[in-house]
């Protein structure tokens, strides 16, 4: 076990922030060669850097292209670290498994995509079902992936009822208690979340990450 050297720490932070995949991967391999534990790299460098990037996005200091580039880079770095951990017999566990999608008939997915990016970069395993996702597709994916959280997005008031029908379907097949349901999107409010019996509501992408973390604490 070795401490993370400053040049690795600062370099990786900078490369992640700038979405520089090549440099990030190189620094990650350097760190591993120096004996840094993958988990230390994740906890001490990657997560704090991505938390800062998420906050900058929230504050409009950076925009979606920068967030996407950092997210893509973080995914590549995490894949390297995961491979090392698995091959050395360590257990690589995510913070939790989130099945996410934009609800049936709704094709607006940019907000959902941002949440997916942020969740992945914070260490969640994200199964993104895309847009126009039928309630049964949420159910199938939740069972198949052994999800912890079902995250639904809806932009339109006309598609919002599908958040309710999705939860109702899980109730109908006696699966409601197996998962936490969170919702968000342009037409979603806390009142609506309360009305349909969702476990949580997030008004924006950054708070969706915090919401998922808090959900995992009670699971």
């Amino acid at each position: 076990m070795a401490n993370i050297r400053d040049e690795i720490r600062e370099g990786l932070r900078d490369a992640l922030t700038n979405g520089d995949s090549e440099r990030s991967e190189k620094l990650t391999y350097n760190a591993l060669e120096q004996g840094v534990l993958p988990l230390d790299l994740i906890q001490q460098v990657i997560v704090p850097t991505l938390t800062k990037i998420g906050q900058d996005f929230q504050d409009f200091a950076i925009f979606l292209p920068e967030l996407m580039a950092s997210g893509d880079t973080a995914e590549k770095v995490t894949a390297i670290l995961e491979e090392v951990m698995v091959s050395s017999g360590q257990n690589f566990s995510s913070l939790g498994i989130v099945v996410i999608g934009t609800v049936e008939n709704d094709v607006h997915d940019i907000g959902k995509n941002i949440v997916s990016t942020l969740l992945r970069s914070h260490g969640f395993k994200v199964i993104d079902l895309g847009r126009d996702v039928a309630p049964s597709a949420f159910l199938d994916a939740a069972q198949k992936e052994k999800a912890d959280i079902i995250a639904m997005s809806s932009l339109m008031t006309t598609t919002r009822p599908s958040t309710r029908s999705t939860i109702n379907l899980f109730t109908e097949v006696n699966q409601r208690g197996q998962y936490k349901f969170i919702i968000g999107g342009g037409c979603i409010t806390q009142d609506w979340a309360n009305e349909i019996g969702a476990d949580g509501y997030a008004p924006d992408a950054a708070s969706a990450v915090e919401l998922c973390k808090s959900m995992m604490e009670v699971i």
Binding site: P65, M68, M156, T157, T158
Partner: protein
């Protein structure tokens, strides 16, 4: 080139370069950032209304480059629809610079507007982008249609039918679409303006839902319009293209709806402006639109009355005005709601920004779409009054006005004043604004007059010459 491009568009949709959607988004972000740099585009928050003709022209060229190089992503086929620069130039050159909307005495002509020119803007109003309840929707529409300075009506969106949630694709969507169209038709009749142009019934999400609202007697007619949407950014689908083909086939107006996100795939204000120019080209080339509805919003606040949004409205309007013949329309989208003083300051800023920049007016989108029924006709009246009073002012004068107007509301973005629902600010029997709303209107109106805008004389000059 033929007028009916559908066979060519389908052919290119089937045979254009294959690309996964996330890769298209990455390519769009990357190329947009390069074009912003290459063309030296710069947003200055101190100058929300820029007076830089050369930058407007550079912006237009950047938008053409983006459109030609990247094309349009067809979500159905996962292929890019590509056009050559020559094709784009030909098609843009063939666009009509004016369009008659509505019929008879109530018809208006929406024109291509010049930068700092003398052509007045036409004003489209209605609760487009602000959800309405079944109960209040007819009154809200009437409150807009009866405003003498409002030229066209948007029918807006109601998400229930006789108290039941409308499920897209279900019979209730068909019934709801027909109901909303009939309510809009009834509103213009009640207002004594039966030939007024109705721009879209927003509720139906499916193609068949939209088609169900076409009814020459009780719904929308050929003199009216439907929106055909773009998905952010520069994306379409066979579903949307089919709507355009149907509308073109029956001779009904097509409105090109674009909703670029500031802070989204285009990046900041400059990149989103580049994308927005390309979106207008998409509307001409793929949709053969009669007019274009620019409905850009800030990703966090869901409005376009902040400095970035106003700058975008202005510079995109100038770029289109100077380089194309198209009639452009900006949707003024606000964080505040009816009954809030801030809403009036917001719409005033939107109208001042757009008028010398070549835009026609639409509004007001209220509360970022978050609150049901928080919208009325009074703010539309104010948009028209301010726009007509601004006619002929320079962009520099507009900039000074906008900076002052911003000071009245921009500090509220994080905790906006969402105002009140329609029945609290309008009398439900007379459909006239209540004193509580009129007092605020008169207060802001007086303040704007003191800023130098002739709100009493401006519209008279426009309407009576």
């Amino acid at each position: 080139m033929q007028k009916n491009l559908s066979p060519m568009i389908v052919n290119r949709s089937e045979n254009g370069p294959f690309m996964k959607e996330p890769d298209f988004e990455r390519a769009l972000s990357k190329r947009t950032a390069e074009l912003v740099k290459q063309y030296g585009l710069k947003f200055n928050p101190q100058t929300p209304i820029p007076s830089d003709d050369d930058m407007a022209d550079r912006l237009y060229q950047a938008g053409v480059d983006l459109f030609v190089e990247l094309g349009v992503f067809n979500q159905t086929t996962e292929r890019r629809i590509l056009f050559t620069r020559e094709e784009v130039e030909d098609l843009m050159g063939m666009v009509r610079n004016k369009v008659v909307l509505g019929v008879g005495k109530d018809a208006v002509v929406m024109r291509h507007r010049e930068v700092e020119g003398s052509t007045p803007a036409v004003v489209l109003s209605g609760p487009t982008g602000t959800p309405c309840s079944e109960k209040n929707h007819p009154l809200i529409l009437l409150s807009c249609a009866q405003e003498p300075l409002v030229d066209m009506l948007g029918a807006g969106s109601v998400s229930t039918y006789m108290g039941n949630p409308i499920i897209p694709g279900s019979p209730l969507e068909i019934l709801g679409a027909r109901r909303d169209a009939a309510v809009a038709r009834d509103a213009v009749r009640k207002a004594g303006r039966p030939g007024m142009h109705i721009s879209d019934v927003a509720m139906p999400l499916t193609c068949q839902g939209k088609m169900a609202a076409v009814d020459p007697d009780f719904g929308l007619r050929r003199s009216d319009a439907f929106l055909v949407s773009q998905m952010v950014e520069l994306k379409t689908s066979y579903d949307q293209l089919s709507r355009a083909a149907y509308l073109q086939g029956i001779g009904m107006h097509i409105v090109d709806l674009m909703t670029p996100l500031i802070g989204g795939l285009g990046g900041g204000a400059e990149g989103t402006a580049v994308v927005t120019i390309a979106c207008h080209i998409l509307g001409v080339v793929l949709y053969a639109a009669s007019y274009h509805m620019m409905s850009h919003t800030h990703m966090r606040w869901v409005n376009n009355t902040d400095r970035m949004g106003l700058w975008m409205q202005s510079i995109v309007g100038q770029a289109l005005s100077r380089n194309t013949p198209i009639p452009a329309l900006n949707d003024i989208y606000c964080v505040s709601g009816a009954g809030a003083e801030e809403l009036l300051w917001e719409v005033a800023a939107g109208a001042v920004a757009g008028t010398p920049s070549g835009m026609n007016m639409q509004g007001a989108g209220c509360t970022g779409g978050f609150k049901t029924d928080h919208t009325t006709g009074l703010e539309a009246r104010f948009i028209a009054e301010v726009s007509h009073a601004c006619l002929g002012i320079t962009r520099q004068e507009a900039n000074e006005l906008v900076v002052e107007l911003l000071s009245h509301y921009e500090k509220t973005f994080n905790e906006p004043n969402r105002g009140m629902p329609f029945p609290e600010v309008y009398d439900e029997n007379t459909v006239e604004p209540k004193e509580i709303w009129l007092e605020k209107y008169n207060k802001v109106r007086d303040a704007v007059i003191k800023m130098g805008l002739d709100l009493d004389g401006g519209w008279r000059k426009v309407k009576h010459g």
